[in-house]
Amino acid sequence: MLPSQQYRQPDAGGVLAALHQVNMRYGYLPQDEVRQVAIELGVPLSQVFSAATFYASFSFTPVGRHKLQVCEGTACYVKGAPALMGHLQAELGVAPDQTTEDMTFTLKRVRCVGSCGLAPVVRVDNETFGRLTHSDLGIILDKYR
């Protein structure tokens, strides 16, 4: 072992990293995969499940092809995020944390993606759109439909 590695705990952040991997592959956490994580890491299943339920990034139900996050952080809130959210809910016919029938979008609320200077902000997957007005939303949705 290299000297710098002797203080390293192999399982540091391991549960989180493994759950992220599953989540990246499927978009959500299938139960069997979560069991597999516990077996592979040699960690009690209860611990893995309690972590999986603790974090907002993970979900046990399948999600749409695109994650549509509406920022409701403070800056976006004071610059009109609630109206954008209302508009999107009506347009897509889903509430936050729900997925459209055609499985295209899962609508999420997020509290700040760190682009507050361009509030209000919407993020689709890893792409962020700022200074939004209602009319921009249609263009953005069409891009992913």
């Binding site: 710098s4 989180l16 403070t74 993606v113 507050c116």
Partner: protein, 573 residues
Amino acid sequence: MPADLEPLHAAGRASLYPDRIKITVGMATCGLAAGADAVYEALSQRIKQRELDAVLVGTGCIGFCQQEPLVDVRLPGQGRVIYTQMTRPRARALVDHLAQTGTLPVDRAWAVIDQEESLVEDRVERFSRLPELSGVPAYSQQPFFASQRKIVLRNCGFVDPASCEEYVARGGYRALAGVLSEMTPQQVIDEVTRSGLRGRGGGGFSAGRKWQVARDVPGETKYVICNGDEGDPGAYMDRTVLESDPHSVIEGVIIGAYAIGAHQGYAYVRDEYPLAVERLTNALAQAEAHGLLGENILGSGFNFRLDLVRGAGAFVCGEETAMISSIEGGSGEPRPKPPYPAVAGLWGRPTVINNVKTFSTVPVIMARGGDWYAAVGAPGNTGTVVFSLVGQIANTGLVEVPLGMTLNDLLEGIGGGSGNGRAIKAVQTGGPSGGCLPARLFDMRITYEEMTSAGSIMGSGGMVVLDESACMVDVARYFLDFTTVESCGKCTACREGTGHLRAILTRITQGQGTPDDLALMEEVGQAVKAGSLCGLGQTAPNPALSTLRYFRDEYEAHVIEHRCPAGKCPVGA
């Protein structure tokens, strides 16, 4: 300069100051959200079409979000010229102008950077400018930048975050080399203590004292953790540093590890920051490749590893003991303190946790000396603080100012007022742990103590500006909604109390509140503060209590007259 760094330095200078035209696009998350990638594409295509001999690069963020997308152009030997609010057509026109005339257009030239300071090397480099541009203000004279003092943000927007070489060319890793070859760990701690540096994650605890505690606890195994969780909504200081200058953070963490005797560290970055994760991952690999991390760093015999841990969307994980639980492999539930992490942290070992900005300040302190740093800012509140100035303010952006500046100078001088004709009513600082300060207090100085005694906190730097159109009761309800959702549920005071406060505030905003609710709110708020296990609950009532303290009239209008003065709340419904 240490021999190991020389080739990097030379390569970095060549890419920072090439012998060709250099066009730079600000491409941190905020620039991208404003359309920087489309501008980049347009520039790239047009450069090819016109066969312009130019390099095109993406860089981090200089903090002027209001004017994004930003494009800088530098002719060989000249100062960089900043063009604001770029669009695809403007980008193409810019390239056409360059190709046709070999000079720079004046149109949309917002400022010229005719001198660049390399803070670490204590060197200022001056550049000339084209006569055509004589009427364009210098960067250092634009009101948005004039009274800023950039220490944490020293390289943001000036280096390519994907280039270790450019970081080194601006003095990067020189402080680390000096520390490892010339200083004992105790000398490092003494220097940091002398600088007066306080934690920039919000608490403001002395960094030097924390390091001393961790160093003095006996034991072979110690850890450092860099807190990049940045959970406060409305704040993006740490994201910007991680995306725009990741090596400054890494260098600071290595110095901290050497000081306390740690050989392993973790950088915890929140999940909502994918670009920060990507750029930090890349920078860590570069640092390892150049012998700046890992075995025998820079030939000193010191070994240190730094691994990245990606969070998963839990606000409470920004709290240090919750972060430790999260890294150890499970849900992020906080633990009672004491013992403090510096005594017994990760796996029970002494662990220093500092914020991203605290760490990125450290190389400057080591290079320039603790006394130099202590001369910036105010006594007891030395150095600088970074704010994200957002909400109803003309110049939104990321600003770094000396501590001790007044709120007025920040909001009017740098921020330019609300910019919409309405008066600024309050600022919200410290996120869900902080409070709202009313306009009549704006001549107070920005120090940890004055912010706290006014009922808010310095926090990590989120500053949301609220004008007359905001309802302060609604703002309080917003934050209690946040903390109710984010409470981890471990302790009763926080779990039940935040929900109770949210219910009272919701009922007030819906016109169903009574005057008794105000007293009840105060009582519940005090109970939650006193009875909660961790800082989340201990500070969660602050937004409610501080608005009640300063904007009681607005509350009374809601509960007595069933009227929302700002016209925001559905009181009549």
